[in-house]
Amino acid sequence: MNRLSTTQRLVGACAIALTLTLLATLAVLHILLPASPSQAELAVALTGVAMLIAGGMLVGGIARSTLAPLQHAITFLDGAPAIPRERLRPAGSRDLQLLAEQIDRLLDRVETEFDRRQRFVNTVSHELRTPLTAITGTLDVLLLEPALDPMLRPRLLVLRDECERLTRLSQNLLLVGRAELGFSLDHRRVELASLLWDIAEQVRASHPEADLRLIFDAAPAVTCDPDRLRQAVVNLLDNALRHGRCPVTLGLGTEGEQAVIAVHDTGPGLSPDAAQRLRTSALPWDTRSARAGLGLAVARWVAEAHGGALHVRSCPRDTTFSLWLPGQPQAMTASRGDPVAPTAATGRHL
């Protein structure tokens, strides 16, 4: 309170004293004259209330001007993004300045730690790709060898399949890692028909035996992150090809303002338990969700990060996963508060 002038203190003290006196008088009057209050009593009571309000406003005003830096700090911290790039900067009284300096130092540490982890995730992502490329490619080419022992073919195919699974797993884990670090989605106008066409070509190339059909009921364009959406759709197709049965259908349509990407298969379907877990678990941070499939968890997260949703309808020989995306450009928000940073300033971390 060292910023208060002597006059301000005096006025404040007087106001409080006056108010207390009036309140005391009022209480005494009320005890002595419990029956119908006279006009004089009412006048005294009203004056008391008015004085109370005036005094309160005066003290409040002084406190507000003194504590403004603290209010600023509260607002600043309340709105701070997951990765704090800005600083509070000291202001106000000596104590408040010290507090602000401490908070800023803490924010420095948080930011450094985030950047360090981000670099780590990006390095891991890159380092994993090199050996995975060599293993996948070598297996693919071995399978093309004309002199390949027919006994080896099925075993190499198993290896190839597992290798692809490892690739997908590492990509999904990396997305979770990046999401936890608060990466922001890339906003882009995307022609969904073209994106799905590319994905289908890619999947047909790696699963030549699979009967994958594309059905276009419409050709909407949406604002989305094409790489993350591709990952979500590939996860849904991977799930259908691995656990479902062909033909697998990849459909694109619209429902009102929304675009709907649907993956349908004719396999045994999801158990009610697994479907429930997919709908309710806090993803992808809840480790229990791994049992419902990390790929599906990531698909749901991607949908929700775009302001959309992933729905599943499943019974034997008829399972559909529908990924809904808002058709109109809109601010993308994460499903769980912070993970997707709200400002473009934090950049993308791919």
Binding site: T130, P131, T133, T136, T138, V141, L144, E201, L350
Partner: protein
Amino acid sequence: MAAILVIEDEQATSEFLRRGLQLAGHSVRVSRTGEDALRRFGDNQPNLVLLDLALPGIDGVEVCRTIRATAETPIIVLSGRDSVEAKVESLDAGADDYVVKPFAFSEMLARVRAALRRGGAHHAAPVRTAALEIDPGTRTAVRGGREIVLTLREFDLLLLLAENAGRIVPRTVLIDRVWGGHDSMSDPVKVYINYVRKKLNGPGEPDLIRSVRGVGYMLQR
């Protein structure tokens, strides 16, 4: 069939690329650095370049730019970076295609075939539907013994539809593949589909191309 220059410093990767491309009938040379590749490029004049971005010495994007400054040779970039920025940077530097590692070898082969076909250096197998025979090597189309004379764009459009006969090809895919992604305000696809239709359908012959409103076009299988 084609001479391919592979620029890749990871030996395990360059080895499977070499063997796989040889099995597909191509002759292959491998360079481990950009400097070596640029030296060899002038002597060998390959039909196609497979270029890894992460190279020791000169960066892959720079190699791409240098080759593109003097030659029209198709360049396919192989990269561990999957961001849109990385793709755009490579395509701006003159790359024809961008493949993210790890990839299925068959997908890579398909892209090599497509790039060679666009480059005109490769005699790909003809595509047949019930009514049509289309030869990408000679760029001719035949319907019922009658040869159909098509412009470059018309031919590319018909070939893409024929390769996917029986499937609806979205309009945006046609724009991406035939017009290189440049979507102008006037709809080039609609106009060109009508040109192709007029040339394709003789008097009394049924229309082979079906329009799917709001989505795209389909050639009869």
